[in-house]
């Protein structure tokens, strides 16, 4: 039987309360959102916080809202809401693509966007999605808030820019004209973590791709955004040759490891192929050729 080590439990009632608790309790305190990454780690004693601050009552962090030039999502928004949201499906189809294949419906009832990003597991899918969409993260503390880009948010595997007395409260997604996005994942069985996955977002200017971004999951650290891909997608005409080129760049910039999910060679091949597919679909969607 797997049992977490002893800890003390506090339930936060507001964002301010949660941050104040975190500040008072210090480094040994952790927030618990959906708990579907943290509790498994605590059961294996890979994480042994002394205090858990439950943030599930913070109803002010459950939302998906549309502003004039961006979509804002509260950190506690659960996978299921991200999957079901018509607003997200309309602007960012990559979300529904990804959410359909993240874990299983029961896990999706609990896991949250904020928890996924803060977990920063290199196999986690939503970091790649958020990176492709050029999202930024709102981080709050008792002294105020700061907004960081996804690349600054991710410090390394399991490491983010969120400090010990801070909280991720919101993720913002810029709305760009003539945009399209898509996500592709290969998994061994329903509900499993990715062997490899890739997400792409592009925005068009007439027949040309004005710009685009690609993020990968499960192929090593620092791949949730492949920088050289963004350069290759700067003001170009879409073509099969371009998708191949970008797929090759993605494959060259990842460092997967052989494990029970696949060999390094297979994963490198998937990085290329899934980049190609997601990019092709993102462009088709931006051109209104595919839902």
């Amino acid at each position: 039987m797997q049992v977490p080590a002893p800890f003390e439990y506090e339930r936060a009632t507001t964002v301010e309360h949660a941050i104040a608790l975190r500040e008072r309790l210090g480094e040994e305190a952790r927030f618990i959102a959906g708990g579907h990454s943290l509790l498994p780690m605590m059961k294996l004693r890979l994480a042994n916080p002394e205090y858990l601050i439950d943030i599930n009552d913070l109803t002010e962090l459950f939302y998906i809202s549309e502003e004039s030039d961006e979509i804002r999502i509260g950190a506690m928004t659960r996978h299921r809401e991200l999957l079901d949201s018509e607003l997200l499906a309309q602007y960012f189809p990559i979300f529904r693509d990804a959410e359909k294949v993240i874990a299983d419906p029961v896990v999706r009832n609990r896991g949250t966007l904020g928890g996924s990003l803060c977990q920063a597991d290199p196999s986690e899918d939503l970091s790649a999605v958020c990176n492709a969409l050029d999202a930024s993260c709102v981080i709050k503390s008792t002294t105020g808030e700061r907004i960081v880009s996804m690349s600054d948010f991710h410090v390394g595997p399991y490491e983010t820019a969120v400090g010990p007395a801070e909280m991720l409260t919101e993720i913002r997604f810029p709305l760009k004209a003539n945009a399209g996005s898509a996500y592709e994942k290969v998994e061994r069985r329903a509900g499993d973590w990715a062997v490899v996955s890739a997400g792409a977002a592009v925005w068009m200017d007439g027949d040309r791709i004005a710009g685009g971004r690609v993020g990968l999951a499960a192929v090593g650290p620092n791949t949730t955004l492949i920088g050289p891909v963004s350069e290759a997608l700067d003001n170009v005409v879409p073509s099969e040759e371009l998708y191949q080129l970008v797929g090759d760049i993605a494959a060259a910039n990842c460092s997967p490891q052989t494990d029970q999910r696949g060999t390094e060679a297979y994963k490198t091949h998937l990085a290329m192929e899934l980049t190609r597919r997601s990019l092709r679909r993102a462009v088709a969607r931006a051109q209104g050729q595919e839902a």
């Binding site: 800890f7 509790l39 498994p40 509900g191």
Partner: protein, 161 residues
């Protein structure tokens, strides 16, 4: 710490250790052993219970987190000696063999039918995709849920007071 929740319509109040998982609270503190406990790694889904009507893997939730909420376990499906259509369906269509996965399968099915009273095969398979059955091959479970959909007469969740 003190937790207070409603389980199958009954108020439950217990003094527990914060690290107690909901599955063990239900089985060991409350004594409702219908909720099974299998993989312990959030994968098999036999521990699924409904929290405020939504299926949740109770091995991956603290009892403390369920405090103040409404929990439904497999024992809560039957009301005054009348089986829920989901339970009837599993009996009629051989939705179980060893019965290990069954509590979780039935609760997920119950929650699905509340939202979608007439689900397709695909929708049913998706709904139970986070749960493992080592006996039936799933086809009879899908058939059982269809049977229940065609015989929806029972009371909704939470009415068992």
């Amino acid at each position: 710490m003190q937790v207070n929740m409603t389980i199958n319509g009954q108020e439950v109040s217990e003094e527990i250790e914060p690290r107690l998982l909901l599955v063990h609270f239900i089985r060991d503190s409350v004594g409702l052993t219908g909720t099974h406990w299998g993989c312990d790694t959030s994968n098999c889904g036999t521990c699924v219970v409904l929290v405020d009507g939504e299926p949740v893997k109770s091995c991956t939730m603290l009892a403390a987190m369920a405090s103040g909420h409404e929990v439904t376990t497999v024992e809560g499906l039957e009301v005054d000696g009348v089986l829920d259509p989901v339970q009837e369906g599993f009996m009629q269509c051989h939705g179980l063999q060893c019965g290990f996965c069954t509590p979780g399968m039935m609760l997920t099915s119950k929650a699905l039918l509340e939202k979608d009273p007439n689900p397709t095969d695909e929708v049913i398979r998706e709904a139970i995709s986070g749960q493992i059955c080592r006996c039936t091959g799933y086809s009879t479970i899908v058939r059982s849920v269809h049977w229940a959909a065609e015989h929806q007469t029972a009371a909704p969740i939470g009415s068992a007071t």
